[in-house]
């Protein structure tokens, strides 16, 4: 097991190194850089920049160096915890990203929890009672959930919350807490509102998870080992949870890490609609303005989260399925 963990950690570092190169290249791909976009803004307001000024600007941002040096400079500082300087916010990136990343993670985790809490019981029900009225009902609801874009759902939820209950659900905090510093009541307020973006972001995944779990479970339900267990006298509910579900759930454990990037991109749109202070909007701004360090840091941190998520799901899978552990 230890050997397995070390091996996985090794591949993880390699993967991240590779991703960092891609992230850097992707950010450099669009023509121009922060200096050209600054100059454009200056020209638009009728100012003329001297060549000397431009040279100074490039030197200040290290843009006069060759690309590989820029990359090495960036990644070297990055691993030391210095994420660089944001041009558009004129602040160190460190001051900008962490809180937003925290909220993104919080919403993503609540979306995953929502997905599992809803999808697992309904998936089981729909497999065990295959072709019953209940199964058809759950299937229809799941397909509607799957077909609804989550930003549309966010709009609908906002509209009806305002129409019926007279509450505004935009933002992560209620009005009275918005400007306060962090406290226990504020935490409870956050938790009580978190389920809205959580369920909106998690909706599509819930439908998919439910359908896949149903199919996996149907495959397992009549396997010989389940019949053997029934033949030795295991009662129905324990039978399903201990045997076929244990196997049917494994593909979900292994894709838990993969869920993260999908949820994060889904979250970007939803958080704009719901006005949430997460990474989505800032990442988009940073990319548009070619704010290299801000965009790069965001992409890198999200990549790290994803790779760590994959590692965690692989380890959980190895713990739950001995066949993987022993390979």
């Amino acid at each position: 097991m230890l050997h397995y963990v070390i091996k996985r950690l090794g591949t993880m570092v390699l993967t991240l190194a590779f991703i960092s190169v891609i992230v850097f290249v992707v950010i450099q791909l669009p023509p121009g850089d922060i200096v050209t976009s600054t100059l454009e803004r200056m020209e638009a307001s009728g100012m003329q920049a001297s060549d000397e000024y431009v040279q100074n600007l490039r030197a200040r941002y290290n843009l006069d160096k060759p690309l590989y040096l820029q990359y090495l400079n960036w990644i070297f500082n990055f691993v030391q915890g210095d994420l660089g300087y944001s041009y558009i916010y004129s602040k160190p990136v460190n001051e900008l990203v962490w809180e937003r990343l925290g909220y993104t993670l919080l919403i993503t985790i609540s979306a995953v929890i929502f997905t599992w809490v809803v999808a697992v019981p309904f998936g089981i029900y729909s497999a065990v009672r295959q072709y019953s009225i209940g199964d058809y009902f759950v299937t229809v609801v799941a397909l509607v959930g799957l077909a609804t874009p989550n930003f549309l759902l966010a709009l609908l939820v906002m509209f009806f919350a305002w129409e019926w209950f007279g509450i505004s659900i935009g933002g992560l905090y209620s009005m009275e807490f918005r400007d306060q510093s962090f406290s226990i009541p504020k935490l409870f307020d956050l938790l009580s509102r978190l389920w809205i973006p959580g369920s909106v972001v998690g909706m599509g995944g819930t439908a998919v998870t439910m359908r896949i779990l149903r199919a996996n479970l149907l495959d397992e339900l009549n396997k010989p080992y389940v019949v053997t267990a029934r033949a030795k006298g295991v009662k129905p509910i324990k039978l399903i949870f201990k045997y076929p579900l244990r196997i049917a759930i494994n593909p979900f454990i292994s894709t838990l890490g993969l869920l993260l990037p999908t949820l994060i991109s889904g979250e970007a749109i939803v958080s704009m609609v719901l006005n949430l202070p997460t990474t989505g909007r800032m990442l988009l701004q940073a990319l548009l303005a070619q704010d290299m360090y801000l965009a790069g840091s965001f992409l890198m941190l999200l990549a790290i989260l994803t790779v760590v998520g994959m590692l965690i799901s692989d380890l959980v899978l190895a713990w739950s399925d001995p066949r993987i552990r022993y390979e």
Binding site: T228, A231, K232, G233, K235, I247
Partner: protein, 307 residues
């Protein structure tokens, strides 16, 4: 008073209704399972052997449905009852499963859960039926596993089924089936998936354990050689019907039904050297084996489906 038969199957009919049509898997099946003996059910694939076993275990899954008949069960430990008549949620079903009647399946490779330890799976059978502690159940499971011939029990009991060979897995399945000392053990082709040397070992094991525990065994197979080795009584099935019932000596030495004769003629070793082995169909020839004549008694306790 206790009858000599632990199971009495009467007029059992099973139908499979699917989108493509209706199949009568069992038609008017009648036979007894004598207490403390080995009864073999022989027949080709699709003759209804396994369906019969699943009816006795109440494991028949939709679209299969019992449409007629009864299976009178006369255990010595509890009151007799009709297995067909009890409802799905009757607590006697769980008592039946593994407690009174156990089953050993054909595929030892897939009959065990891949993600649970062997000790866990065997001791679970005990925990389902008796009020003992987990440790107590594990100790009994260890005893049973030793009796079926698992070596290095202390390490083996902590291992997973995929770390066992096919023969070893079948021993585990047998241990799991016998750990609650059921009154009837149904073996559904337990050696078919194993290679020949392992087959012999498993057969010897089943025979030895039967001698020791004196439970009644229903042994389902299509291998007449195995029948000769292990069975006391033989039930010959074909197309969901019983064609002939008798002791193993009667049926194998002196088959009465043309189908049984054909079956025996199609076994390698039963014909002289240099004679081409016949198929069942050519050996049966023009004889009528499809008309469902009711079983009639022909003396010495023998029954045969002939006009």
């Amino acid at each position: 008073m206790m009858t000599d038969n632990i199971l009495e199957i009467r007029n059992l009919g099973v139908r499979f209704q699917t989108d493509t049509g209706v199949t009568n898997a069992l038609n008017d099946v009648n036979f007894d399972v004598p207490r403390g003996k080995v009864t073999a059910i022989v027949g080709e694939s699709g003759s209804g052997k396994s369906v019969t076993a699943n009816c006795i275990m109440r494991l028949l899954q939709p679209p299969g449905k019992i449409v007629s008949g009864s299976i009178q069960f006369n255990p010595s430990r509890t009151e007799p009852f009709d297995i067909v008549a009890i409802r799905d949620r009757d607590p006697r079903i769980y008592e039946l499963h593994g407690g009174l009647i156990s089953m050993v399946f054909q595929e030892p490779m897939t009959a065990l859960s891949p993600v649970h330890r062997v000790g866990n799976q065997v001791s679970e059978a005990i925990l389902c039926h008796r009020d003992v502690s987990k440790e107590g159940a594990m100790a009994e499971a260890r005893d049973m596993l030793r009796r079926v011939g698992i070596p290095n029990i202390d390490t083996r009991i902590e291992m997973y089924p995929f770390e066992f060979s096919g023969g070893m897995r079948q021993r585990v399945v047998i241990a799991m089936a016998l750990v609650c000392n059921p009154e009837v053990l149904i073996c559904d082709e337990p050696t078919t998936a194993l290679d020949v040397t392992i087959q012999a070992e498993i057969l010897t094991l089943i025979k030895d354990l039967q001698a020791e525990l004196s439970n009644s065994i229903i042994f389902i197979t299509h291998d007449i050689g195995i029948v000769a080795q292990i069975a006391d009584y033989v039930v010959v099935m074909y197309q969901g019907r019983v064609l002939e019932i008798g002791t193993v000596r009667q049926v194998l030495k002196d088959p009465l039904h043309p189908y049984t004769k054909g079956l025996l003629a199609a076994i390698p070793g039963n014909v002289p050297k240099n004679v081409r082995l016949s198929t069942i169909a050519t050996a049966v020839g023009d004889a009528d084996i499809t008309t469902p004549f009711p079983l009639k008694s022909v003396g010495d306790g023998r029954l045969v489906s002939l006009p």
